[in-house]
Amino acid sequence: MTSHLELSALKRGLRLALMATSATLAMGLALSLFVSGPAAPVAEALLWLGLGMLVAIPVLNVIDVVLIECRLKEWRFAAAGVTVLVLLAYTVAVKVWP
């Protein structure tokens, strides 16, 4: 049976993180399009930061579910979440840092 998982503090934080991601990407895009010269590296840094934040959010979502399932002592689902995190870490280790 699926229980309704309550809205955790981390989930509320993730919503704020999504808004922050959008703002970071929008700022970076605006700087790239409308401001040139010294602002170019800043714009590119904001864009890569925003993209990194975007990719991190699903990972943090999985961590949130793992923590909730551990609190509920549902170890099967917690183990599934941990395995997903390990697989993603493996992908980064093999592809980005070979």
């Binding site: 049976m1 699926t2 309704h4 998982l5 809205l7 989930k11 993730l14 919503r15 999504l18 991601t21 959008s22 990407l25 929008a26 970076g28 895009l29 790239s32 399009l33 590119e44 864009l47 890569w48 925003g50 993209l51 975007l54 990719v55 959010i57 699903p58 990972v59 979502n61 999985v62 579910v65 399932e69 549902e74 689902f77 599934a80 979440g81 395995t83 997903v84 697989l87 993603l88 493996y90 992908t91 980064v92 592809k95 980005v96």
Partner: protein
């Protein structure tokens, strides 16, 4: 100008994604590749980033959280992540044309399954205490009632999720185009629950493909990626609102038509 077009394409992809539980990549890749003449690997890389954006928005929205079966999502995203990682290794041995043909053929089959089961409803009528392993309840928008459903054919759901992971990496999409119809047509999951659950899965499924594309140097323009992501986030809001007001049968027909159009593109016009 190309950033503006990417933004507009993202709006369209995000709207469809939020309405149908897709990441929108199935719409975004052809638009970027064909309409904007972007190299296919770059279009796929941007699409996968946009898929993550759609997933983040839908899975964190309150309506998505109420509809999604989180434990089913945890199980399926485990196998879809394995499939996606396997797909990154398969890329080394597969031509781009082969990937397009595999995706087009699969999409045609899925569209046929959806159209053959338009009137199927996966809700259990009457009072239900036990919904079984990974079953659940949700608010049916069509009737307004709290209805129950049971998950059937779990191995089918697991197999499709793994295949969706592979397709995600090979075709630059989230894989929801396979997961949503399978959950709804084969596994007894109501359409809205299938769409919301798929949206939760897509983000994790797309990450191995994004990492692989980044490592291979295909994610070269963060500006275009940002344009696509921001468009998807805007479109997702509109798609969510529209999707809540449209009947289930209409959603299924829309999904099937989109699948046929996209499949034709990849099979005959590339």
């Amino acid at each position: 100008m190309i950033v503006l077009f990417t933004f507009l394409a993202g709006i369209g992809a995000g709207s469809l994604g939020a309405m149908l539980g897709l990441g929108g990549g199935i719409f975004l890749v052809p638009v970027l590749n064909i309409a904007l003449d972007m190299p296919l690997p770059q279009a796929m890389a941007i699409s996968l980033v946009a898929v993550i954006a759609t997933s983040n928005f839908v899975s964190l929205a309150s309506a998505g959280q109420k509809s999604a079966n989180i434990r089913l999502a945890m199980l399926l995203q485990l196998v879809s992540a394995i499939g996606a990682i396997g797909g990154t290794y398969m890329l080394d041995y597969m031509s781009m044309r082969t990937r397009e043909q595999v995706f087009g053929g699969t999409t045609i089959v899925v569209a046929a399954v959806i159209l053959s089961r338009l009137n199927q409803r996966n809700v259990l009528h009457g009072h239900v205490d036990d919904v079984g392993f990974l079953g659940g309840w949700f608010q049916d928008h069509d009737t307004g009632d709290l209805v129950a459903y049971r998950l059937k054919r779990v191995p089918a759901a697991v197999g499709v999720a793994a295949g969706a992971g592979v397709i995600s990496t090979l075709a630059g999409i989230g894989g929801g185009v396979l997961v949503v119809p399978a959950l709804n047509s084969w596994c007894g999951v109501p359409m809205r629950v299938a769409a919301a659950t798929s949206a939760v899965i897509l983000g994790v499924t797309a990450i191995p493909g994004v990492i692989d594309n980044f490592a291979d140097g295909h994610l070269t323009s963060p500006m275009l990626a940002a344009g696509g992501v921001l468009g998807v986030l805007v479109g997702s809001r509109a798609g969510f609102w529209i999707g809540a007001k449209v009947k289930v049968r209409s959603l299924k027909i829309l999904l099937a038509v989109i699948l046929i159009v996209v499949a034709s593109q990849y099979l005959f016009f590339k």
